[in-house]
């Protein structure tokens, strides 16, 4: 039972990071209709940028300030990269067929991956000195690594910020309008280009923070981008254009991944932990292809 509780709680906390990254994905899809396969690489870029900044800052100031500054720096780099990516690559693809847009994001993922590994090495890098203390905290009799708790808190705060931004601010409302009906939004004076740029910037920022947190848990290497790719089962489960779906889906996939890693590993040794979400996704697709709260598309000839 203890093992189950521990796996469950860690799963929820890990899942909150997936939910954060999935939120960025869903925003892009809702606002601009782009199905982004580069999310894993965006996550990885965020992690590496934060690591680089952290290593620079930590020599001159205490660990907490250095990490916070590095995180803020990552968010700003993400903002800048997001705007740039949208402007250079994605804006030209508005209205192109789905395969073309998807393959542009695949091209982006190759480009980003290549650039990350040209600049940084492929060896696993860790945040040194450690940002979060290594001794676990005990919650309700279950030992949880502190890094998970802090990640959970950070992901939760950011999710609240993003969702309230989307719901209550002027820019967020224009994004909502654009997601709802692009033509109507355009005719009412909402700038679609601005909305797309904003969506990409938010996705980059969310993925950057997610990558930083994942990098703190396991160290940074290529596997972070594979974890970022788990955003795809998440959004399929939650529904492609549903923000609550992304959050619920993220946490579900986190729990599922941890439980399968804990219980199924002895039956299927090896990579079951990484594969389980994809297996789950295929089975789920067969029965409920539009996810929990996704919109069902009705097609006409």
């Amino acid at each position: 039972m203890d093992l189950f509780l521990q796996l469950l709680i860690t799963g929820i906390m890990l899942g909150s990071i997936f939910a954060l990254v999935a939120l960025g994905w869903v925003l892009i899809y809702k606002c601009s209709g782009v199905l982004n396969l580069a999310m894993g690489e965006l996550t990885m870029i965020g992690g590496y940028v934060c690591l680089g900044l952290y290593q620079r800052f930590v020599t001159t100031m205490p660990i907490e300030y250095a990490f916070l500054l590095a995180l803020i720096g990552t968010i700003f780099v993400g903002l800048f990269l997001g705007l740039l990516t949208e402007r250079i690559f994605l804006r030209k693809m508005i209205g192109e067929p789905i395969l073309a847009v998807i393959m542009v994001t695949v091209g982006l993922s190759f480009f980003f991956k290549g650039m990350v590994f040209i600049i940084w090495d492929t060896d696993t890098q860790v945040f040194l000195p450690r940002v979060f203390p290594i001794e676990p905290a005990v919650i309700a009799g279950v030992a949880i690594g502190q890094v998970y708790i802090w990640s959970f808190v950070a992901a939760l705060i950011l999710m609240v910020i993003f969702v309230s931004f989307f719901k209550y601010t002027r820019w967020g409302l224009s994004m909502q309008a654009c997601a709802d009906d692009e033509m109507a939004a355009l005719s009412l004076g909402v700038s679609a280009k601005f909305v797309y740029a904003l969506a990409w910037a938010i996705a980059f920022m969310a993925a950057g923070v997610g990558g930083t947190l994942l990098g703190n848990i396991n160290g940074l290497n290529y596997s972070v981008s594979l974890l970022g790719l788990l955003v795809l089962p998440v959004v399929v489960f939650g529904g492609l254009n549903s923000i609550p779906g992304a959050i619920v889906g993220g946490i579900t996939i986190g729990i599922l991944q941890n439980l399968s890693g804990g219980y199924l590993d002895r039956f299927f040794p090896g990579g079951i932990k990484e594969i389980a979400p994809f297996v789950f996704m295929v089975i789920f697709l067969l029965f409920k292809p539009y996810g929990l709260w996704g919109w069902e598309r009705i097609e006409r000839v």
């Binding site: 073309a100 393959m103 091209g107 492609l240 090896g270 297996v279 292809p289």
Partner: protein
Amino acid sequence: MSYLPCGYYFEDYADDQKWWRTRFIKGKMILMVVLLATLPLLVDSQWLSVAYTINYYILAALGVQLLIGYCGQITLGHAAFVAVGGYTTALMMLNVPWPQSMIDGGLVYPICIICAGFLAAIWSVLFGLPSARVKGFYLIMTTMAAQWITVPLVITQYVAQIGGRGQAFSIPTEMIKIGPFSIDSDTKIYYFSVILVAVCLVAMGNMVRSKLGRAWIAIRDNDIAAETMGVNIVGYKLLAFFVAGFFAGIAGAFYISALFFVSPEHYEWFFSLLWVGIILIGGVGSIQGLVFGSIFVVMVFKLLEIAVMGSSDLLMASYPQLGWMTTKIIFFKEAAFGLAIIFFLIYEPNGLSYRYWQLKNYFNLWPFSYTGK
């Protein structure tokens, strides 16, 4: 179809659909055959290996072209089916007690190729089943899942452990023999690959210009409309997955002869995306485009390798700190490939085959080229 030059008139459909319609095309094809046959005399073995890598990519991307370009079913997991082909061949060669007469007679490898094709085709149909219910992005997800389930899980964890040889299987060279010809040098691998590509391309070309191909194209253009016209869309979609998987299995079985061993890292997700990239660069829905795309991608990789290696040799003398460039060549390749896909999609969405089509029309209509624009 391109415009015909002056003086050619066809009176029935069969004439119009012929492979080689004009005398010029016949001459061109004969020239190409001569060139392909004499290539081993003209270049050294380094470039021959480039040539058969191109052929391998053509074979592997053939199924992708069929699924994406002709049937409209986007697949991002084709390396899984190639992997099934490769591992089927390897395991059959190693684990089946072949009688010595069959090994000497060179029957083993052809049998393995056929079996690899069928097994990969069945595996492909299995992951094509969701296409009956979902399409677009959701189908992309299931084909991606095919990749993730097949290569890192099933093959790496289970299939590659059969016989306890470790992950990489090496194949005894005397097994790789077709009839009296033992495929053991770059030249022979090259000829074998050319023959295989020719057979597969002819098969594919005949399929897409028959009833089968017209049904696939109807599904690609509008599946609901195709259904109302009486096309059994589930059946034809699964048939497309079957044929694409068969080609993938043949590609996997062929690559055994070039490598003499098989290991999961030759079937990573990168290759699935690479083959989709190849058909996008070459042109979606065109067999020529497939060939152009393969040539383009492999040549760009090769030239990039030469450029980085060469320049780092030159630079190393004066700037020894640049030695890292050679160790990171694969990432230069990946970044360049990513940029190539993006720029082709943005600036040349019809691919290289469209340019070739324009060029052909220009000369066919010359000197009245303005009519063909």
